[in-house]
């Protein structure tokens, strides 16, 4: 007997092992479950330390017993292969199960059971959980910033129209298909700008003018992210091409530009854009703070996008350039039809990464006095009537950002699948 065959079953007593093993595992999970959900300690007769470690030991022994090779039960084999391959994996599996069980009750109680949402004042929040009343009362501010309440329909309509117009691409018409790229790259952003300029900003057609300083909250997050994403991509693309250009002037300018913007922190760029930049402009020249911020972020992110795209350009085999050239294509035709479609497809994950970072960087615009959703939270938490609810605010913002970013990441993954062709 060269291998210690401790407690290993054979064909005859397989079922016995299975029952004992499952029972021990069940007891272990039940012990943690009761302790966590109902504060019942079924092992209270044992010393504290033993009671703490007991479920783990029971579980490991249980999993050890049911770790039967080729038991003939497909589900059990699958389980053993994936999460119960050896003692170490069994311990990890148990610990994860325990952590999940242990963390559910406190989260549930904070988020739902002990939370308050009724009432209009701080005093309504009596439970020990979250005070969603705070979010409820401040929701308008978190979404629209300081935008006047009676004018908020203008933001709603603009965003509704923009979302509706974004789905034009789904119209199945062959004649329009040709213009879709043109629509999304040029026409859509122009429509967006016009809508935002005339409807949200106002000042024409009898609409009251609302200065950009009053814009804020989630709607400002969307506006800043939207325009920055749209602008930084083409700029980044040209920078990437410029960095690989055969013309030294173009190349050095691109390299200089990229290295400059990559080398400075975004917060200083924003600060400069609002404080330093106007000093260099003629006195009668006015550029809105929001526009300056959008330009600053776009240029900043364009440098990152450029490097991501350059990675894709370099990943293409030289033969693709040769083939395109040998067919008589010039620089632009070669890049538009052969090189960029392939390179951009390769860098979708990298671009998505940069875009997610961009969206999550938008809160930094507080340094120039623009308050998007996190800025509004910071403002609201210092309101004397509502002190002490920073936690709820940040959790709320985290959830919102997570939803936005997860949607973007899902979308980029779908794009990857859509444009996947076998090489």
């Amino acid at each position: 007997m060269n291998k210690l065959n401790f407690l290993k079953p054979n064909k005859e007593n397989l079922n016995t092992y299975l029952y004992i093993g499952s029972f021990l595992f069940f007891i272990a999970v039940l012990d943690v479950f009761l302790g966590s959900f109902f504060q019942i300690n079924i092992t209270s007769f044992l010393p504290n330390f033993v009671g703490f470690i007991l479920p783990l030991i029971l579980g490991v022994v249980g999993l050890h017993l049911i770790r039967i090779e080729f038991s003939g039960i497909p589900k059990l084999d699958l389980l053993n292969k994936n999460i119960n391959t050896n003692t170490f994996n069994a311990v990890l599996t148990l610990l994860i199960i325990f952590v999940v069980i242990k963390s559910i009750p406190p989260l549930m109680s904070w988020f739902i059971i002990d939370a308050n949402i009724a009432g209009d004042t701080k005093e309504a929040c009596t439970g020990s959980g979250a005070c969603w009343t705070y979010i409820k009362i401040w929701l308008r501010r978190f979404i629209y910033g300081m935008y006047p309440n009676e004018l908020q329909w203008r933001i709603n309509i603009s965003f509704f129209l923009l979302i509706a117009l974004a789905f034009v691409g789904l119209i199945p018409s062959k004649k329009l298909k040709k213009f879709l790229t043109l629509y999304y790259v040029i026409i859509y952003p122009i429509i967006a700008f016009i809508l935002i300029y005339y409807l949200i900003s106002g000042g024409a057609f009898g609409l009251e003018w609302v200065e950009t300083g009053a814009w804020g909250g989630l709607s400002l997050t969307f506006i800043v992210s939207f325009f920055c994403l749209i602008f930084c991509f083409p700029v980044g693309m040209f920078l990437a091409l410029g960095r690989r250009s055969a013309l030294p002037t173009v190349r050095y300018i691109s390299v200089g530009f990229i290295e400059f913007w990559r080398g400075v922190p975004l917060i200083t760029v924003l600060f400069m854009s609002s404080v330093m930049f106007p000093m260099f402009l003629p006195e009668d020249f006015f550029m809105d703070k929001l526009v300056r911020v959008i330009i600053a972020i776009s240029l900043f992110e364009a440098a990152y996008v450029a490097e991501v795209i350059r990675g894709g350009l370099q990943a293409l085999p030289r033969g693709q350039y040769d083939a395109a050239k040998s067919l008589g294509m010039g620089y632009w035709k070669m890049h538009i039809f052969v090189i960029l479609p392939q390179a951009l497809k390769l860098v979708i994950p990298g671009i998505a990464n940069t875009f997610l970072a961009l969206v999550k960087d938008t809160p930094l615009i507080f340094v120039v006095g623009l308050l998007e959703i996190v800025g509004m939270l910071n403002l609201a938490k210092t309101n004397p009537k509502w002190l002490g609810f920073a936690m709820e605010g940040y959790v709320f913002a985290a959830i919102i950002f997570w939803i936005i970013c997860y949607a973007m990441s899902k979308y980029s993954y779908n794009l990857e699948l859509k444009y996947k062709t076998e090489r």
């Binding site: 085999p317 033969g319 693709q320 040769d322 083939a323 395109a324 050239k325 040998s326 067919l327 008589g328 294509m329 010039g330 035709k333 039809f337 052969v338 479609p341 392939q342 497809k345 444009y419 062709t421 076998e422 090489r423």
Partner: protein, 244 residues
């Protein structure tokens, strides 16, 4: 011999300090088929890449169809459009279907209407017998089929000259024949061809002239019969004895 379609006079080329082409002189008549052979690193690929200026030569001059290739050549694209090229690694565009691979350049470079371009592409694909694969993507085809598509793609530009850069070297032995058949077929139609290859059977069947290159020089240049029957230089004899 003034009506030569390609004239190469005293061409020298260096990669850094290394001289890849040494005093190359060559004239190609319309409809002539030339096979270039030689050991690897002898400069044969570089030579034909110079003919459509995928590589630049430093000395001497190359005249293609009456246009000299220099740094100032503004309409190099026009010359390239006249010279088709087939590569060792096929170099199809993986993001486009076989049909789109063939129509891309005619539509955007020659400004051919889409319908005409597709008709022409289907005709060329039929010539190389892969018209039934037109809607597939390059990745779904075998190496031989991809290479035949590459030939069809080059032919769709209706070139005057076709350059082949070791078109069968990256293929499985079984697929070599189908590609060579397509090339023989093309030769019979009277295309001007310069083929870098080690397929001596193809050379014997098709070539008017065979050029043997070694260390950047043209060692021997003779019509096909003489080249194989009584090679002059010892280097050629050695090469032929090893390859045949």
């Amino acid at each position: 011999m003034s009506n030569a379609i390609i004239k190469i006079n005293d061409v020298n080329k260096w990669f850094g300090d290394f001289q890849v082409l040494k005093n190359i002189n060559l004239e190609v008549q319309p409809k002539q088929k030339i096979v270039v052979c030689g050991p690897s690193g002898s400069g044969k690929s570089t030579l034909i890449r110079c003919i459509n200026r995928l590589e630049e030569h430093q000395e001497g001059n190359i005249i293609v169809d009456g246009n000299e290739l220099t740094e100032d050549t503004k309409d190099i694209e026009k010359i390239r459009a006249e010279v088709g090229m087939v590569f060792q690694q096929f170099n199809l565009f993986p993001h486009l279907s076989i049909l789109d691979n063939c129509t891309l350049a005619p539509i955007w470079v020659k400004k051919m209407p889409k319908k005409d371009a597709e008709e022409l592409a289907m005709k060329q694909l039929k010539q190389v017998q892969i018209d039934d694969q037109a809607q597939k993507f390059p990745g779904q085809l075998s190496g031989g089929q991809q290479q035949r598509c590459a030939i069809a793609r080059a032919l769709c530009m209706q070139p005057k000259i076709m350059l082949f850069d070791e078109p069968t070297s990256a293929l499985d032995p079984e697929m070599i024949k189908e590609v060579l058949d397509a090339m023989v077929n093309l030769a019979k139609q009277g295309m001007t061809m310069i083929v870098v290859t080690h397929e001596m059977g193809f050379a014997k069947e098709v070539a008017d002239e065979v050029i043997f290159m070694d260390e950047g020089m043209i060692v021997e240049k003779a019509n096909t019969k003489d080249f194989f029957a009584n090679p002059k230089s010892d280097r050629t004899k050695l090469f032929l004895s090893q390859i045949l």
